[in-house]
Subunit: 251 residues, 2 copies
């Protein structure tokens, strides 16, 4: 894997033929979601009928419908015979889907959207760390330590590896919590890290601070101190929060 990137098609955006023949549905899905998220088809709007959409995107109706089923599964649209396909209210969307979240984040300018994400992290991750300290297995601890080591190594080099190791670190702790609900939010954390790297021109000096805080978390979990783990993680996310807050427009 190339780090945090989800898709990796060569470079052919909209060319319907050429070497982009394979993976029609994946690119098609992305385009459809993009049209909805971007507001070209706002909530409550009726999409053009399937025949027209298929022609517009240059694919068969079969492929279009398969992609649409994916969008239906995310709660973004709903089709009814004769009535057409309607865009559902955003409150119904599954924002935790990686593709959906990626696209939404690249289209939104609302600072509150990012702040909500950070708030959720600041709630979830300290709790997960505390639980991890209480119940992590040896394998869990090893995975956490390994991720931390990778961050140390990546520190001298550059961002791509650092962010991958960072994600691995937080994911390992959430996994160690053993709570399946917490695990559902890993995609949101991934998105938050991505956004953080997009928004802030992180000085490598701040890596040093971050690294220290990560080490504190590792130590607290390893020595089985739930409260210390919780607080160490709180401080760590607090740093991330302030970085994001600085990069956003003032409230």
């Amino acid at each position: 894997m190339t780090g945090l990137n989800g898709t990796r098609r060569p470079a052919a955006p909209g060319s319907s033929d050429a070497a982009g023949k394979r993976r029609v549905r994946e690119t098609l899905l992305q385009r459809v979601i993009e049209e909805i998220v971007s507001g070209r088809f706002p909530e409550g709007a009726i999409l053009p009928n399937e025949a027209e959409l298929a022609e517009r995107f240059g694919v068969s109706r079969t492929s279009l419908r398969e992609a649409m089923q994916h969008v239906v599964a995310q709660g973004m649209i709903r089709s009814r015979t004769r009535a057409g396909t309607m865009v559902l209210p955003r409150s119904n969307w599954n924002y935790l889907d990686p593709l959906v979240l990626d696209i939404v984040l690249r289209h939104t300018t609302d600072p509150q959207f990012y702040l909500s994400l950070i708030d959720a992290r600041q709630l979830l991750e300290p709790a997960a760390a505390a639980q991890a300290a209480a119940s992590a297995t040896e394998a869990d601890l090893q995975a956490i330590a390994e991720a931390y080591d990778e961050m140390v190594e990546a520190n001298s080099r550059d961002t791509e590896e650092w962010s991958a190791a960072d994600l691995k670190f937080h994911t390992a702790i959430i996994d160690a919590s053993g709570n399946w609900v917490y695990r559902q939010f890993v995609t949101a954390i991934r998105a938050a890290l991505l956004a953080s790297f997009r928004l802030t021109n992180r000085a490598s000096q701040s890596h040093e601070d971050a690294l220290r805080m990560h080490r504190d978390v590792v130590e607290a979990i390893r020595t089985r101190r739930p409260d210390a783990s919780r607080h160490a993680m709180q401080r760590l996310i607090g740093l991330a929060r302030s970085e994001i807050a600085d990069a956003l427009p003032r409230d």
Copy 2:
């Protein structure tokens, strides 16, 4: 809506023909997910090829594939040419999808699964209540009050209305928090309430206790006291937790 019920087809469970001609995909989807969740096709297993599956379920390959796209969207399977369709590890599944969660809950006997759900509620909902106290709009407050009133009314009658009002109550508070991440969690709460009603033979006397606690939450939010709201919600979920814990096998 009829309360907590997601689907509402007449009464024909598995009859492949008859009046069940319509909504093939919905029942098909349910059956496919059920086969995977039940362990008939465990993690890592390769499903029969599409032609065979289509025949087995008595549908066309087109319909089967459209249903499969839903399953793909939930991260449960992955198809590759020539290699077949593989069941992905459960860590990859989107458990917050209503259909998936319903089916999983009806198949799991692991008490820890329920406890994790309650833990997550006990983490998220107090935070949401506090945030609601701080930033709810008048419309938000009204929605919460309305849900509470419905619970009062439903108290004398019976369970169906009570549970619907209960869900509405918790949903309204989470909505009032204004945090989109918290909102993603509503399906899990719905599932938790369903499970609670399945597992416990709630005495109507306990409704009185519950009602008082709900009222405390409403009051705390209405009077804009975040900490009081948090604590009131903590007590409320604590009650739910003890009810569930009593109903589960001993640890």
